[in-house]
């Protein structure tokens, strides 16, 4: 790899540092600083731009595996800058301006209430930049989207609709689609029409479940800000001020985990979570069924047929394994009994003639008795025949 991007970038870092300090000081002394909005969280941080610029320059030279992993680091670095820079600047603006403790509390409350509004979706104007500013907040959702991206259907076509307006959009959409879906299916293609209608209904159900799931994250976000506030107050009580960005970031993560952990163990969350997974599965299954019909029409083996074959093959294989195991057991038993016979000591020779003689005598008397019985019965049969005729 060429070192130039590193060198050039390193030379620029000092310049970024100077710019950053300028921005911070301007911000802190700003007359408007007393009422900070979340817009401030993402404003004028040259470090993020620097990171982006650097990564664009060097990433093509890295191997794909390194690129994937490093992208995560860069993304987290940006989230770190955004969260800590915004929060720290906002939270101590009063200090820089030499405000009283009471004024400081007010400033903190303004910042946190602004964050709460953002999570609650009441401030659509900040959806873009500020949501990005809270970057890692969306990690669970993004991971879900990636996990289910193998769906043949679009994942979440409503994801860019703001949280506050999602209910309205969804209702309108459902209302119109419901009208469409209520059209009675008739004629030769009736069944096909019904299947498409079901597919659309299932998709809407999934979208609704996904939006409800997204909405829970807005609620968790609000809780998270509340926990952060409590944790900050605790710091005051303990007289342990936060003196570094990393420390502030750690407190933010702790607050998020605490709020998240409390929320996701509630019945409400468990219900929404279950509905999210179940509605997606119902949608996918219906999609598979329709796909199977299309495959069947062009004489290609369907998913259902392949599953049947796999199931039968499984049964046959495991029956075979069971039989082999049984044969092994029988073999072992047979071998054991052979060994036992071989190992058995021979009977004493002196008894043999007596036994043989006794056996012969018994056989002879048995044979004599048998022949006598046969003779009697023959005589009886003959007598009987004679009588009949």
């Amino acid at each position: 790899m060429n070192d130039n991007p590193f060198t050039a970038w390193a030379n620029q870092l000092l310049e970024y540092q100077r710019q950053y300090q300028d921005v911070w000081q301007t911000f802190a002394s700003s007359a408007n600083g007393a009422r900070l909005g979340v817009e401030g969280l993402n404003n004028a941080n040259p470090w993020i731009a620097a990171l982006d610029q650097w990564w664009k320059a060097v990433s093509p030279s890295a191997a794909p595996s390194v690129q994937n992993f490093y992208s995560k680091l860069v993304e987290q670095g940006k989230a770190y800058f955004q969260v800590t820079d915004g929060l720290s600047r906002a939270l101590q603006q009063a200090t820089a301006a030499g405000e009283s403790a009471m004024r400081w509390q007010e400033a903190v409350n303004n910042v946190l209430s602004s964050l709460r509004d953002m999570f609650a979706g009441q401030r659509t104007d900040v959806q873009g930049a500020a949501r990005q500013a809270m970057g890692f907040w969306e990690l669970p959702l993004n991971t879900w989207r990636r996990a289910v991206s193998s769906s043949i259907l679009p994942g979440d076509f409503l994801q860019d609709v703001g949280a506050s307006s999602i209910g309205q959009v969804r209702d309108q959409l459902h209302g119109r689609v419901d009208q469409l879906l209520s059209t009675p299916a008739i004629g030769y293609m009736r069944e096909d029409q019904e299947k498409v209608q079901t597919l659309i209904r299932l998709n809407l159900d999934y979208q609704q479940a996904l939006q409800d799931y997204v909405a829970t994250y807005a609620e968790i976000g609000v809780k998270c800000v509340e926990v952060l506030q409590q944790n900050l107050q605790q710091r005051v009580a303990e007289r342990k001020p936060i003196e570094s960005l990393r420390e502030l970031y750690g407190l933010w993560v702790d607050s998020c985990e605490q709020a998240y952990g409390d929320y996701v163990s509630t019945d409400k969350y468990v219900e929404i979570y279950g509905r999210l997974v179940n509605s997606l599965m119902a949608l996918k299954r219906h999609g598979h069924m329709m796909l199977d019909e299309a495959l069947n029409a062009v004489d290609i083996p369907t998913r259902r047929e392949i599953r049947t074959l796999v199931h039968r093959m499984h049964e046959v294989r495991w029956e075979g394994k069971a039989l082999r195991a049984e044969i092994e057991i029988l073999k072992e038993q047979h071998q054991a009994s052979l060994k036992e016979k071989q190992a058995r000591p021979p009977a004493p020779a002196v008894n043999r003639p007596k036994r043989a003689a006794a056996k012969t005598k018994a056989m002879a008397s048995k044979s004599a008795a048998k022949s006598k019985t046969e003779q009697n019965s023959r005589t009886k049969r003959e007598q009987s025949t004679t009588k009949r005729f």
């Binding site: 950053y20 669970p140 007289r239 985990e257 996701v264 996918k284």
Partner: protein, 354 residues
């Protein structure tokens, strides 16, 4: 007092240092090359379908315990976690403690395996692996060590085939699947598992990862990577981190039928402790476990909370039951420096004494 007292110059310095570390770290990362996994050489003893039974070759000479121990790992994730690297290896620690160690690798199942049941795994693959070891050593019983879900499998196996297990060790093993604080259990209660498996066939490893990472998303998907940047200038530490990262995302798909049985029967209906698990012709009754049992759990386990594991003592009939409480998490119990010093030697001593 004002709780946030970050000076602008300090903030700028922190960001500068972070960017510098990120830049230098990439140089190191590029030079690291391939990340190796598995520290101890093994010999393949038995194969069946996708299962491989390994025997570890001890660098410490002949084992002094004549009864080998077979490690039964979970179907979730890969078993090389037990032997991640030389200085973080449960297996190596056990070899050092004089044990003869075998390990079952279940492999990566695909669609052809989707109808494998727990009966097939436990009374089929596992039983044949145990028989192979018994025949090889000319012994009636082996020692068994089950990890996580593998521990639950080991319990089922030992309850059914008690005559083949001399001593049983369970590590971070769920027994009671509905204890308070078991988030994983809470989440799956409303999931229609029949529908899920009918739709997906096998359950994708990505979906499983999402569920596990969602237990602590901000720490596991965010903060962890930030902390990593601090380690990037140390090549060895970076290598360790990447090795762990590789393991975390090396998630085999879960066989549909077994997943269904496990989630429904164990998590949703908690049948194991009720004595209602049926595996083929066998009913699993934990009271049949009369051999000595060592139950190891992690105090800060977020996947299998301690009460889910310690419930075991109430359901087994053995008179020789011990517990080992490890001060760490679900993964730390295998790989942390602390665990290397305590867990494998404790296992060795416990086995040697029986």
């Amino acid at each position: 007092m004002i709780p946030v007292q970050i000076r602008p110059d300090r903030a700028a310095k922190e960001m500068l240092e972070f960017n510098q570390k990120l830049g230098l770290g990439l140089k190191n990362l590029i030079n690291i090359g391939e990340i190796s996994i598995g520290a101890t050489p093994t010999e393949v003893i038995y194969r069946e379908d996708k299962l491989t039974l390994h025997r570890y070759q001890s660098p410490f000479g002949e084992p002094h315990n004549p009864v080998p121990v077979v490690v039964v790992y979970a179907l979730v994730n890969r078993p090389y976690m037990a032997d991640l690297q030389e200085d973080r290896s449960l297996v190596r620690g056990m070899l050092k403690a004089g044990q003869d160690v075998y390990l079952i690798d279940w492999g990566y199942p695909d669609r052809a395996d989707q109808y494998l049941t727990m009966d097939d795994y436990i009374n089929g693959y596992l039983d044949r692996s145990v028989d192979t070891i018994r025949r090889r050593h000319g012994i009636d019983k082996v020692n068994m060590l089950g990890i996580c879900q593998g521990g639950t499998f080991s319990l089922c196996y030992s309850a059914i085939h008690a005559h083949k297990v001399k001593n049983l060790i369970t590590m971070v093993t769920p027994v009671d699947f509905q204890t308070p604080g078991d988030l994983l259990s809470r989440w799956v209660q409303q999931i229609d598992v029949d529908l899920l498996v009918d739709t997906m066939g096998n359950v994708s490893g990505d979906l499983m990862n999402w569920m596990f990472l969602s237990l602590k998303p901000f720490r596991l998907m965010g903060q962890k990577y930030l902390d990593m940047v601090d380690l990037l200038d140390d090549e060895e530490q970076a290598r360790n981190f990447l090795r762990m990262e590789k393991w975390i995302f090396d998630s085999p798909d879960q066989v549909g039928e077994t997943f269904k049985q496990f989630v429904k029967g164990f998590y949703q209906e908690n049948r194991l402790i009720k004595g209602e698990v049926q595996l083929g012709a066998h009913r699993v009754d934990l009271r049949n476990i009369t051999m000595p049992v060592l139950n190891i759990y992690a105090r800060e386990d977020h996947l299998v909370p301690p009460p889910a594991s310690t419930a075991l003592k109430r359901y087994v009939s053995t008179r020789d039951y011990s517990e080992l409480d490890f001060p760490g998490g679900h993964i730390g119990i295998y790989v942390s420096g602390k665990s290397q010093k305590t867990v494998p030697p404790a296992i060795g001593e416990w086995l040697d004494a029986r």
